[in-house]
C-alpha cells in the first residue's frame, strides 16, 4: 500500500537526479535568505550553483542543535514570518528551546510524508486512529494528526496522558490504530491488566511508534501483549517532525522519504562517512522545506543504512531502527555502551520488558556501571544460592554483550520510575 506510488517507487537514477536539483535549489535559497548559512558558505568559498554531484554536499558545513539555539527564535527561517503558518518548538530540557517554522506548502508536504508512513504501516481511510502523542509545541501530535486526516482516517486527537481514559476511549470508539511512544504502549498494556481489560477484545490492529529508541524485543512484547502489528517511524522536529522515515509491512527497517530528505551516516568522532551498512550518526539535509530548511543537520541519532532493495517495492533506502543517541552513548572504561544493548539482554533473561536504570560512577579513577534491575517474579527465587547465581548470570551475559564488566543490583518491583514519554534511564554521576 502506497500513498504516492510514483514518488515512493521512483527508479534510483531518477531519484538521484531529483535530489541534486532540489539540493542545489535549497542551498541557493539558504545562501540568499539566511545570513547564518550565507556567511558560512562565503567563508568556505562554497558556490551551490556550481555543484554537479550529490557527494559535493560533503564540503558544506554541519548544522547542530547549538546553531539552532544560537539563532533562537527566528534566525534560521528562510521565509518572512508572514509566510509562516505554523511554529513548533522542542522542549528546552537540555538548554534553550529551539524553534522551527512551516509554510503552507511545508504543511502539505509534511502531511503527505506522514500519510506515506501511515499507509506503509497498513493504515487505510477506514481506520480509526488514536493519537496519544502530546499535542502542542511538540511536533508528534500535530504531525501525525495532519497526516492521518490527509489519508482520510478517522482521527481521535486524545493527546498524551490519562491512561485509563485512553483505554476507555479505545474500547468505546473502537480504535484500530494507536500512535504513541513504544514505552507508553507498554504502560497501556500494564494499565489494561490493572483495569481487567483484555486487549484481545479491542479492535486495535496497528501501532505506530516513535519518538524514542526501542528494541526488537520490545516490539515483540508490544505485538504480543496488545495483539497488534507494531511499526517504527522516525522524525525529529529540527528536520520536520514525524514523517522522515517509517517502516513498511516488512518491518525490516524504515524507508527514508529520500525525495525530501538527503541522508548521510557519519562516524560521530571523525565526521567522515562510515562504510555502507555500518553504524554511525545520521545527518539530514532537507530538500524541499521552505520555511525552515536545514543543511547537514547532525541528528545525534545512531543508525545504519540498509542498501539492499526492499520487497515492498519502495526504492527509498531503509535505515535501521535508531540504536541510540551519539550523546546517550556511554563510554565505560573506553568501551562504547548503548542502553539498548542492555535492554535486549535483560529482555532475554526476564522474558518481559525490563525496567532498569543505569548508574555510572567513577571509583578510584575507574568507571563503574551499575545496572539496577527490578526483581520481577520470573527472576526471583526463595533460595539465596539461586538468586545470586541469577545475578551472576546477568552480569556475565551483559559483560559478554558489552565487552565491559558491570555490577547488577536487584531492586523491588515497580520501584523504578515509569515514563510516559522519552525514558531517561541513565544517571551519570561521573564528574569529569
Amino acid at each position: 500500500m502506497y500513498w504516492q506510488k510514483d514518488q515512493e517507487c521512483r527508479p534510483r537514477p531518477e531519484l538521484e537526479k531529483l535530489q541534486l536539483e532540489r539540493l542545489q535549489r535549497t542551498l541557493g535559497r539558504v545562501a540568499t535568505n539566511v545570513p547564518f548559512y550565507r556567511n558560512k558558505f562565503n567563508e568556505l568559498k562554497l558556490k551551490p550553483e556550481k555543484m554537479t554531484t550529490l557527494s559535493e554536499l560533503q564540503n558544506f558545513p554541519f548544522t547542530t542543535k547549538q546553531d539552532l539555539r544560537d539563532n533562537y527564535p527566528y534566525g534560521l527561517f528562510a521565509v518572512p514570518l508572514r509566510d509562516v503558518v505554523r511554529i513548533h518548538s522542542s522542549s528546552g530540557t537540555t538548554g534553550i528551546a529551539t524553534v522551527v517554522g512551516y509554510s503552507r506548502n511545508d504543511i502539505v508536504t509534511w502531511s503527505d510524508m506522514v500519510a506515506r508512513i501511515l499507509c506503509g504501516a497498513g493504515v487505510t481511510p477506514d481506520d480509526v486512529i488514536q493519537i496519544a502523542f502530546g499535542y502542542g509545541l511538540f511536533t508528534g501530535g500535530f504531525g501525525l494528526h495532519y497526516g492521518a486526516e490527509r489519508l482520510g482516517a478517522s482521527v481521535i486527537p486524545i493527546s498524551s496522558g490519562n491512561t485509563k481514559r485512553q483505554i476507555q476511549i479505545m474500547q468505546d470508539f473502537k480504535t484500530t490504530a494507536l500512535v504513541c511512544t513504544p514505552s507508553y504502549a507498554l504502560k497501556m498494556a500494564d494499565v489494561m491488566m490493572d483495569m481487567g481489560v483484555n486487549p484481545n477484545g479491542l479492535s486495535l490492529r496497528y501501532g505506530l511508534f516513535g519518538a524514542e529508541p526501542w528494541s526488537e524485543a520490545m516490539r515483540a512484547e508490544i505485538n504480543e501483549r496488545l495483539g497488534i502489528r507494531a511499526t517504527d517511524n522516525y522524525g525529529l522536529s529540527e528536520v520536520m517532525g514525524p514523517g522522515v522515515a517509517g517502516e513498511c509491512q516488512e518491518c525490516k527497517g524504515l524507508h527514508i522519504n529520500e525525495d525530501h530528505f538527503l541522508v548521510e551516516v557519519l562516524n560521530p568522532e571523525t565526521l567522515t562517512p562510515v562504510a555502507p551498512g555500518e553504524v554511525g550518526e545520521l545527518v539530514i539535509t532537507t530538500l524541499t522545506k521552505e520555511a525552515f530548511p536545514v543543511i547537514r543537520y547532525r541528528t545525534r541519532d545512531l543508525t545504519r543504512l540498509i542498501p539492499e532493495p526492499c520487497p515492498c517495492g519502495r526504492t527509498f533506502i531503509r535505515m535501521n531502527r535508531v540504536l541510540g543517541r551519539s550523546d546517550d552513548m556511554l563510554i565505560i572504561k573506553g568501551v562504547n555502551v548503548f542502553p539498548t544493548q542492555i535492554e535486549s539482554v535483560l529482555f532475554d533473561i526476564e522474558g518481559t520488558e525490563p525496567h532498569y536504570r543505569l548508574i555510572v560512577e567513577r571509583e578510584n579513577h575507574e568507571d563503574k556501571l551499575t545496572v539496577m534491575v527490578e526483581a520481577v517474579e520470573s527472576i526471583f527465587f526463595d533460595e539465596m544460592k539461586k538468586q545470586r547465581a541469577l545475578i551472576d548470570s546477568i552480569k556475565k551475559r551483559l559483560a559478554s554483550e558489552l565487552g565491559v564488566g558491570v555490577e547488577v543490583k536487584l531492586v523491588e518491583e515497580r520501584s523504578l520510575e515509569r515514563f510516559d514519554g522519552k525514558g531517561a534511564r541513565v544517571i551519570d554521576k561521573r564528574q569529569l
Binding site: E377, M384, E412, E413
Partner: protein, 143 residues
C-alpha cells in the same frame, strides 16, 4: 506432606519488614513462622502463613515480588538433640539442606522445623522411614 511457603523480595531499606507485617495484619493473615536471608543489597523473606493465596494477592497488590515454594515441616520434641536427629537422618541419605528455620509451638513441648531440601521427595521418604512426624499445612495452621 508439603507445606506452602511464600517468599518476598526485599530491598535493604528501613521499614520494609514493618510494612509487610502490617499489610498481613490488616488483612487478618497470621504468620506462623518466618526467616530472612540477607545480603548487603537485598533480602529474601520467607513466611509460613495461615492464608497463603490471600497473602500472595495482598502483597502483590502492594507492589511486592512474591514467589511460592514448597517446604517440609517436621515436628520434633523440644529437647536436646531434636534437630540433630533429623539432620543425621538427612545426612545419611546424602541430601543437602538449601535452608531451614524453626519455631516452637504454643505449648512449648514441640519444635517445628521448616526445611527446603535439594531433593524434596527423597527427603520425605527418608524422614518417614526414620519415624519423624511430618506436618501438613492444616496441622501447621492449627498449631
Amino acid at each position: 506432606m508439603l507445606v506452602e511457603q511464600i517468599a518476598v523480595f526485599l530491598e535493604n531499606k528501613s521499614g520494609r519488614l514493618a510494612e509487610i507485617t502490617s499489610i498481613l495484619a490488616d488483612n487478618d493473615i497470621n504468620i506462623r513462622a518466618l526467616s530472612v536471608a540477607d545480603t548487603a543489597d537485598f533480602g529474601i523473606l520467607r513466611l509460613i502463613v495461615d492464608k497463603v493465596e490471600r497473602a500472595k494477592t495482598v502483597l502483590r497488590e502492594n507492589g511486592f515480588t512474591v514467589g511460592k515454594t514448597q517446604v517440609i515441616a517436621v515436628e520434633v520434641e523440644d529437647k536436646t538433640g531434636g534437630l540433630a536427629n533429623v539432620l543425621q537422618c538427612i545426612k545419611k541419605a546424602g541430601i543437602n539442606v538449601e535452608y531451614m528455620y524453626a519455631f516452637v509451638n504454643k505449648t512449648g513441648e514441640n519444635a517445628v522445623l521448616i526445611f527446603r531440601f535439594e531433593k524434596m521427595e527423597q527427603a520425605i521418604e527418608h524422614l518417614q522411614k526414620g519415624g519423624f512426624t511430618i506436618l501438613s499445612r492444616e496441622q501447621i495452621c492449627s498449631l
